[in-house]
């Protein structure tokens, strides 16, 4: 059967037969690095184009359609343009911090790739605290944003970074609590265990009300955590020019931009893994014909399909809801989402203990 895990295994076998173990490890590390960089670049290009096409589709216009077939090469052209732009460092800026910040954003985005199961048995590191790792590493993101905003020596950047910091740390709580419902139901923090627990039905189907509530809260919280509209106060164009990356230009700006889109991908991948079964195909009870037909679709297609569905949902939000004010934003989190998700966690625990999910 053709699958990503199979290809990885073949390469591993071939390397083991050709080289000694040390060289095999080194070559595998290089291959993994190149593969992740390739995935990064591809995701950046695809997501930027997707954002623009979805926006155009919702606003009933054409969107980018000149460069390449159906505008597919538009983001390539944009990248080329950004390469020839000058990456300027303002005179008053804290130069070291200003230049380190995009690197940290990229490192965080890259580190978050480790526990994500892209397909069946295809994962960089299936560590036993996978979900905790994701929540822990993703909160480093806010440091890069604060560094960028503070070191720019620009009032807009500083305001944007502070807003972004307050927003990200606030919404991290309800995101964490909604993830917790799935951990309670599964009884494990390991990503592969969580996916395996959904082999007879995704949590969104068999978790009933508590999981639906936590799924909705999770989507709202990650939209806020990735600073996307309607929670894009941090870079509200009409108030703060571009928020924390006002002073960034050229490739450094592109790196922030890329990290932002990769983060959207990662939170959607986490959402797909926890609530929509990761790479698990859709199964309906004992309807064998249907189940077998679904099994023929490769697991990577299932994973990317679910992830891109969630990404589409988040892009849809952007053109549907107006931007919130900062007091409304904090009210929504502290007075509604946090109490609801705390209560919802108790509900989910009671349900898990009673065994009401099947």
């Amino acid at each position: 059967m053709w699958s990503l895990a199979h290809i990885a295994n073949e390469i591993h076998q071939w390397l083991n037969n050709t080289f000694n173990p040390t060289w095999t490890l080194i070559i595998e590390m290089v291959l993994a690095g190149v593969a992740v960089i390739g995935l990064f670049a591809a995701l950046g290009l695809v997501l930027v184009l997707m954002e623009r096409r979805v926006a155009a589709w919702i606003q009933i216009r054409l969107g980018p359609n000149r460069v390449g077939p159906l505008g597919l090469l538009q983001s390539m052209a944009d990248t080329l343009k950004l390469i020839v732009k000058e990456g300027l460092t303002p005179d008053g800026a804290d130069k070291v911090m200003f230049n380190i910040a995009p690197f940290i954003a990229m490192i965080v985005a890259m580190l978050l790739m480790a526990p994500i199961a892209f397909a069946k048995d295809f994962q960089l590191w299936d560590l036993n605290i996978g979900v905790l790792y994701v929540t822990a590493v993703s909160s480093i993101m806010v440091i890069s944003i604060l560094m960028a905003g503070w070191s720019s020596n620009n009032k807009y950047s500083l305001m944007g970074a502070m807003r972004s910091g307050a927003q990200i740390v606030s919404y991290e709580l309800s995101a964490g609590l909604s993830i917790m419902t799935i951990i309670v139901l599964t009884g494990s923090l390991q990503v592969s265990d969580i996916i395996q627990a959904q082999s007879n039905g995704w949590w969104i189907f068999k978790g009933h009300l508590p999981v639906w509530i936590s799924f909705i809260i999770f989507i709202i919280a990650v939209t806020a955590e990735t600073n996307r509209a309607p929670f894009d106060l941090a870079e509200a164009e009409s108030e703060l020019t571009a928020g924390f990356h006002t002073e960034y230009s050229g490739m450094k700006f592109a790196l922030f931009f890329l990290a932002e889109y990769i983060n959207v991908f990662i939170v959607c991948a986490i959402g797909a893994t926890l609530f929509l079964g990761g790479w698990m195909p859709l199964h309906f009870g004992s309807n064998n014909a249907f189940n077998n037909a679904m099994d023929y679709i490769p697991s990577s297609v299932w994973f990317f399909g679910k992830t891109f569905f969630l990404i589409f949902l988040i892009m849809w939000f952007r053109w549907t809801f107006p931007r919130l004010r900062i007091d409304q934003l904090l009210n929504l989190e502290w007075k509604y989402l946090l109490p609801i998700s705390m209560f919802n966690l108790l509900l989910a625990t009671a349900m898990a203990i009673l065994g009401w999910h099947f």
Binding site: L25, M29, V36, E86, M106, W125, N153, N154, M162
Partner: protein
């Protein structure tokens, strides 16, 4: 791949960003003038220092966040064993949440969650 994947990922991230920035440095033709280094504040010359005191609200929210974040860390080990421990886990977490909620209400009554 195991823990070594973290090293690979960090190196990959630094290499990717570094190569991208170096590449653009080789390609571009940069000029320098005085206006270029000024902060971009929509054309109006910037006034005073940037690193000033900010609204205290950010600080208050960060403090309240800290309380809840520590609670969240305590919840992770609980969540893993909650199902196997049964009702005792639920009772314990209700007590925990009750105490936490009183603290939350205190912060709310003191006006820490109100944006000023």
């Amino acid at each position: 791949m195991g823990p070594s994947s973290l090293i690979v990922l960090i190196i990959a991230a630094v290499a990717f960003s570094g190569i991208a920035i170096m590449l653009s440095r080789f390609v571009l033709t940069a000029t320098k003038n005085k206006q270029k280094g000024e902060p971009y504040e929509c054309g109006i010359p910037t006034k005073g220092k940037t690193w000033i005191q900010l609204n205290v609200g950010y600080y208050l929210f960060a403090l309240v966040f800290l309380i809840f974040d520590v609670e969240l860390v305590f919840l992770y080990p609980w969540a893993v064993v909650a199902k196997s421990m049964g009702w005792i886990a639920l009772v314990e977490i209700v007590i925990f949440f009750f105490i936490l909620f009183i603290g939350f209400l205190y912060a709310h009554r003191k006006g820490a969650l109100k944006w000023v």
